[in-house]
C-alpha cells in the first residue's frame, strides 16, 4: 500500500508538469497584455514595450517556460506582476475562505445527498423518488448565482436569520465563521448534491437488485442494515468516485459563489488575475487547484480499499 501511495504521489509530478505546460502555453498564446494594462490608457506603445521588457515578457516562450519550471522546482511560484507580492503570499491570504467553503460544501453535500439517493432508490417510483429527481434536475439546471440570490432573499431579507455577505475567519469564533458560510455552502452545494444524489440512487438501484440483497431480505434483516451496511457499502465506490470528480465542479462554482457573497477567496483572486493577465498568479492558483484535484482523487482511490476489500494496490 505504501509503495502504491508513493508511486501515485510520484506520478503526480508528470501530471503537474503537463498541467504547468498547458497552463503556461495557454496564457502565453492568449490575447491580452499585462504590460498594456499596467501602463494605463495614456501610455505610448513604447512605454508598453519597455514595461513588457522589464517584466521579462518579451523573452522567447521556451526561455520563459524554463524559467518558470526552474522556479517551480524550487517551490517558488513567482511574484505577481501587478502587486509585486509573492504568489504564495497572495494564495495564503485567500486560501482560508475558499478551503472553508469547499470543505463545508463537501461535508454538507455528502451528508444530504447520500441519504437522499439511498431513500430514492429504496422507494423507487414513489413520490419520494420523484421529488428527489425533481430536486436533482433543479440542482443541475439553476445557476449557482440564482440560488445564491434566492437564498439571500429568503434567509437574510425575509427571515433575517443569516448575514448575506462577507467572511469571518475561524479565529474570530466558530459561529461568526459558520453563519457567513451557511448560505454560500448551500448555494454551492446545490449542484453537488444533485450530482451525488443521482449517482447514489442509480448505483443503489443496481445494488438493490443483486441476489445477496434478496437473500438478506429473505433472512429477515431490517431495512436500515440492508440499505446502509450491505447496499451502500457496495455502492460506495462509484459514489466516492463522483465525489472526487465533483471537486472540479466545486472549484468552478466557488468562483461564482465568492463573487455573489463577497467572499475574499481564491476564486476571486483567480478572476482578478485573469482580467489583468497576471500570469504568475493564474499559474499558481491553477497549479494549486490541479494539485488539490490530483490529491483528492488519490485519497478517493485509497478509500476504495476501505469500501471494497477485494481492491488491492
Amino acid at each position: 500500500m505504501l509503495a502504491y501511495i508513493a508511486r501515485r504521489i510520484l506520478s503526480t509530478i508528470p501530471v503537474m508538469l503537463v498541467v504547468a505546460f498547458v497552463v503556461f502555453s495557454m496564457l502565453m498564446l492568449s490575447p491580452g497584455d499585462p504590460a498594456a494594462v499596467i501602463a494605463g490608457d495614456q501610455a505610448t506603445p513604447e512605454d508598453v514595450e519597455r514595461i513588457r521588457a522589464a517584466l521579462g515578457l518579451d523573452r522567447p516562450f521556451l526561455v520563459q517556460f524554463v524559467d518558470f519550471l526552474w522556479r517551480l522546482v524550487n517551490f517558488d511560484l513567482g511574484t505577481s506582476i501587478f502587486t509585486n507580492l509573492p504568489v504564495t503570499h497572495m494564495i495564503a491570504q485567500r486560501i482560508e475562505p475558499t478551503v472553508s467553503l469547499m470543505v463545508l460544501t463537501i461535508l454538507f453535500s455528502v451528508a444530504v445527498a447520500v441519504p437522499m439517493g439511498v431513500v430514492a432508490a429504496w422507494k423507487a417510483g414513489s413520490w419520494i423518488d420523484r421529488a428527489v429527481m425533481v430536486f436533482a434536475v433543479l440542482g443541475f439546471s439553476v445557476p449557482v448565482f440564482v440560488i445564491g440570490y434566492l437564498l439571500a432573499y429568503i434567509f437574510a431579507l425575509e427571515l433575517d436569520w443569516l448575514p448575506v455577505q462577507g467572511y469571518t475567519p475561524l479565529s474570530r469564533g466558530f459561529w461568526p465563521f459558520l453563519e457567513n458560510l451557511i448560505l454560500p455552502t448551500i448555494a454551492l452545494g446545490s449542484v453537488y448534491i444533485a450530482l451525488i444524489a443521482r449517482i447514489t440512487r442509480a448505483t443503489m438501484l443496481e445494488v438493490l437488485a443483486q441476489d445477496y440483497i434478496r437473500t438478506a431480505k429473505a433472512k429477515g434483516l431490517g431495512t436500515r442494515p440492508i440499505l446502509f451496511l450491505h447496499a451502500l457499502k457496495n455502492a460506495a465506490v462509484p459514489i466516492s468516485t463522483v465525489v472526487g470528480i465533483g471537486i472540479a465542479l466545486l472549484i468552478g462554482g466557488a468562483v461564482v459563489t465568492e463573487s455573489v457573497f463577497a467572499i475574499p477567496g481564491l476564486g476571486r483572486l483567480t478572476v482578478d488575475a485573469i482580467l489583468r493577465r497576471d500570469y504568475p498568479v493564474i499559474q499558481g492558483v491553477v497549479l494549486l487547484f490541479s494539485f488539490v484535484y490530483v490529491l483528492v482523487n488519490l485519497m478517493i482511490d485509497l478509500l476504495y480499499t476501505v469500501f471494497d476489500p477485494r481492491i488491492r494496490y
Binding site: G32, V37, T44, D47, S80, Y149, A156, D160, G166, E258
Partner: protein, 532 residues
C-alpha cells in the same frame, strides 16, 4: 440582448436582496476615527509612476506629496514647495522646499529626493517628457533647494509639477526613486498625510492607510490637491467588493462610509434612503472617444472619419453609458472639457444639430470605402466601452459599413490597439476609450489630441498643422492668447477629425450622512472629510 430597463430592473432586484438585508449584515462597530471607503477598482499595486491606473493615482495621493498641486480653478499652488524663483530669461527655475518635510521612515525630504523623483517621473509623464527634452540641469544645490535649467522656456512647468493627470510628480525617497521607471518599486514610502500599511494589504479586496503624525499640512485651506491636507481619521480603509450590489448593501448597512463611483442602476435605491447622500463625483467628468486608426482604409481618409462624425448622435452614446439620468451626461462638440477656462467648441458644428445619415453615407462613399469590413475592438468587460461599442456597431451598420465586431476584454484591446498592421493581419480600425475631463482641460498632457504620426497615441494621426498649434499654445503668455489658440486647435482637430468625442459622462458618488466634507473633484479627496 437585454434592454436597459430590464437590466435595471434585474439589478434593482439583486440590490433589493442585498440592500434590504442590511439588518442581517453584521456590521463591525463603526468608529469616527476610521473611514471605510469603496474605490472604483481594487488597488492592485502602489507605484504611481510604474502603474498609471486612476485607482493607483488616487491611493498614491494619500501616501505621497507633490511640489505643487492644482486647485479647483486648475491653477498650480505650492504644496511641498515653499517658494520658487524664475530667472529673467525664464530658463532657470529655483524651487525651495518647505521646512519640516519628512518621509514616513522618519528621514527628512531632501533636494536629492526631489531630483531623483522628478527624473523618474519625467520618463513616464508626457509633460515630463517635454521638460526632460529641454532640461540642461536638474540638481539640488542644498537639501532644500532644487534647480532646473532649461534650454528653452517651458511656461507650463508648475502645471506639470502639480497636475492630477497620472502619473503625477510624486516625491519619493531617493533610494526608491532611483528604481527604473518601468519596474515597480518595492516600498511605498512617501511624505504624504497617510502611510500605507503594506502588511495589511490584500490586493483586490482591502488596503489600509494610517495617519502619519509627523505630516505638516500647509496653513491654507484645502482646495483639491492644493492647500492643507488635514486628515481627520486615524485609519482609512479601502474595501473593494466585486459586486456593486454588495457595495451598495454595505453602504446602506453602515459597513461602508463612502462609495467613490455608484453604478447608475443602484442610484434609485440609494436615493430612497435618508441616511445616504448622493451627488456627482467629478464635475469635469469623462469624454467618451471613438478612436480611428489613421493608417488603414477607410479611416485614413478624412472624409470617412467625418462621415462617421456626421452620423454620431452623442445622446445615443451617453444614454447607453449612463441610462436615463440626464444629469449624468452632456453633449460636447469639442475635444476640451466644458466649464474649464480654455474650453472651445469652435468647429464643433459637425457634432451638433440634426444628424444627417444620408449625407454621411454619401461622404463615406466619396471616400472610396469599398465595403471591406471595418474592425471594431470592444472591451466587453468595461461597461461604458461595451455600451459605446454597441452604439457604434449599429451606427456603422446604418452607414452601410460591414463591421467585424471584436468582442473581447480590455486587456486584449490594450494589446491589439498597439498593432499597426492592417486589420486583416491582427490590426484594427476603431476602438472606444474615454479621457478624464481633467486631462482634457488643456493641451499640455493631452496625448490623445496629438497628431505627430508615428509618435502619436494609438491610431497614429498625422497632421503637422495641429502639432504647430499645440506648440503655439505652449508659447502663449496670456489667458486670452491661450483661448484663441485652443479655439484654433479645436477647429483644426474637428476638421481633421482625429477622433470622435462621443459626449461627456459623469458618475455619482454616495456617502453616509454621518460623513461630511466630501467635495466634487476628479479624484476622491480625504482631507477635510470628517465623520460624526
Amino acid at each position: 440582448m437585454m434592454g436597459r430597463r430590464a437590466a435595471a430592473g434585474l439589478a434593482a432586484a439583486a440590490l433589493a436582496v442585498t440592500a434590504l438585508a442590511a439588518p442581517a449584515v453584521r456590521a463591525q462597530a463603526a468608529s469616527a476615527r476610521v473611514l471605510r471607503f469603496a474605490p472604483h477598482a481594487p488597488l492592485a499595486n502602489l507605484d504611481p509612476i510604474w502603474g498609471t491606473q486612476y485607482v493607483v493615482r488616487n491611493a498614491a495621493m494619500l501616501v505621497w506629496d507633490t511640489l505643487y498641486g492644482i486647485d479647483s480653478r486648475l491653477e498650480p499652488k505650492p504644496q511641498m514647495a515653499e517658494a520658487h524663483e524664475v530667472s529673467d530669461d525664464r530658463l532657470v527655475w529655483t524651487i525651495r522646499l518647505r521646512g519640516g518635510l519628512r518621509f514616513h521612515d522618519g528621514e527628512p525630504v531632501r533636494g536629492t529626493d526631489v531630483v531623483a523623483s522628478l527624473e523618474r517621473w519625467m520618463v513616464r509623464n508626457p509633460m515630463g517628457q517635454a521638460i526632460r527634452a529641454l532640461r540642461q540641469e536638474l540638481s539640488a544645490p542644498d537639501d532644500r533647494t532644487i534647480r532646473l535649467r532649461l534650454a528653452a522656456p517651458y511656461p507650463r512647468l508648475l502645471q506639470a509639477l502639480g497636475a492630477i493627470s497620472a502619473p503625477c510628480a510624486f516625491i519619493m525617497p531617493e533610494r526608491i526613486a532611483r528604481t527604473d521607471p518601468f519596474t515597480q518599486i518595492e516600498e511605498a514610502i512617501g511624505s504624504g498625510p497617510m502611510r500605507f500599511r503594506k502588511d495589511e494589504w490584500d490586493p483586490g479586496t482591502r488596503s489600509a492607510f494610517e495617519r502619519f503624525d509627523r505630516y505638516e499640512p500647509r496653513d491654507e485651506p484645502a482646495d483639491w490637491i492644493a492647500g492643507g491636507k488635514r486628515i481627520a481619521f486615524e485609519r482609512i480603509e479601502w474595501i473593494a467588493r466585486p459586486d456593486p450590489a454588495a457595495t451598495a448593501s454595505a453602504l446602506l448597512s453602515g459597513d461602508l462610509d463612502w462609495w467613490e463611483q455608484v453604478a447608475p442602476d443602484h442610484v434609485p435605491v440609494l436615493r430612497r434612503n435618508r441616511q445616504i447622500g448622493i451627488d456627482i463625483a467629478d464635475p469635469l467628468g469623462n469624454i467618451g472617444s471613438l478612436r480611428f486608426n489613421h493608417l488603414h482604409t477607410p479611416f485614413n481618409d478624412v472624409r470617412a472619419r467625418r462621415a462617421v462624425a456626421m452620423a454620431v448622435d452623442q445622446a445615443d452614446y451617453m444614454r447607453a453609458v449612463v441610462g436615463d439620468d440626464d444629469v449624468l451626461w452632456r453633449r460636447v462638440p469639442s475635444f476640451f472639457t466644458p466649464d474649464t477656462p480654455l474650453y472651445s467648441d469652435a468647429g464643433g458644428e459637425i457634432l451638433s444639430g440634426p444628424r444627417d445619415h444620408e449625407a454621411a453615407r454619401r461622404l463615406l462613399a466619396d471616400s472610396g470605402y469599398d465595403g471591406r469590413p471595418v474592425t471594431l475592438l470592444v472591451a466587453e468587460d468595461v461597461a461604458p466601452l461595451r455600451a459605446m461599442g454597441q452604439v457604434t456597431h449599429r451606427l456603422l451598420g446604418d452607414l452601410g459599413c460591414a463591421v467585424d465586431y471584436v468582442a473581447t476584454d480590455w486587456g486584449t484591446v490594450a494589446r491589439r490597439r498597439a498593432v499597426r498592421a492592417p486589420p486583416a493581419e491582427g490590426g484594427w480600425n476603431l476602438f472606444h476609450t474615454w479621457h478624464a475631463g481633467v486631462d482634457c482641460a488643456t493641451p499640455a498632457g493631452y496625448a490623445a489630441l496629438r497628431t505627430n504620426g508615428d509618435d502619436a497615441w494609438f491610431g497614429w494621426p498625422n497632421d503637422p498643422g495641429i502639432e504647430r498649434l499645440r506648440e503655439a499654445w505652449f508659447a502663449a503668455t496670456t489667458l486670452a492668447e491661450e483661448r484663441a489658440v485652443v479655439a484654433q486647435l479645436n477647429r483644426a482637430s474637428m476638421a481633421f477629425m482625429t477622433w470622435v468625442p462621443t459626449g461627456l459622462f459623469m458618475a455619482y458618488q454616495a456617502w453616509r450622512r454621518s460623513v461630511s466634507g466630501i467635495v466634487k473633484a476628479p479624484l476622491p479627496l480625504f482631507w477635510g472629510v470628517a465623520k460624526a
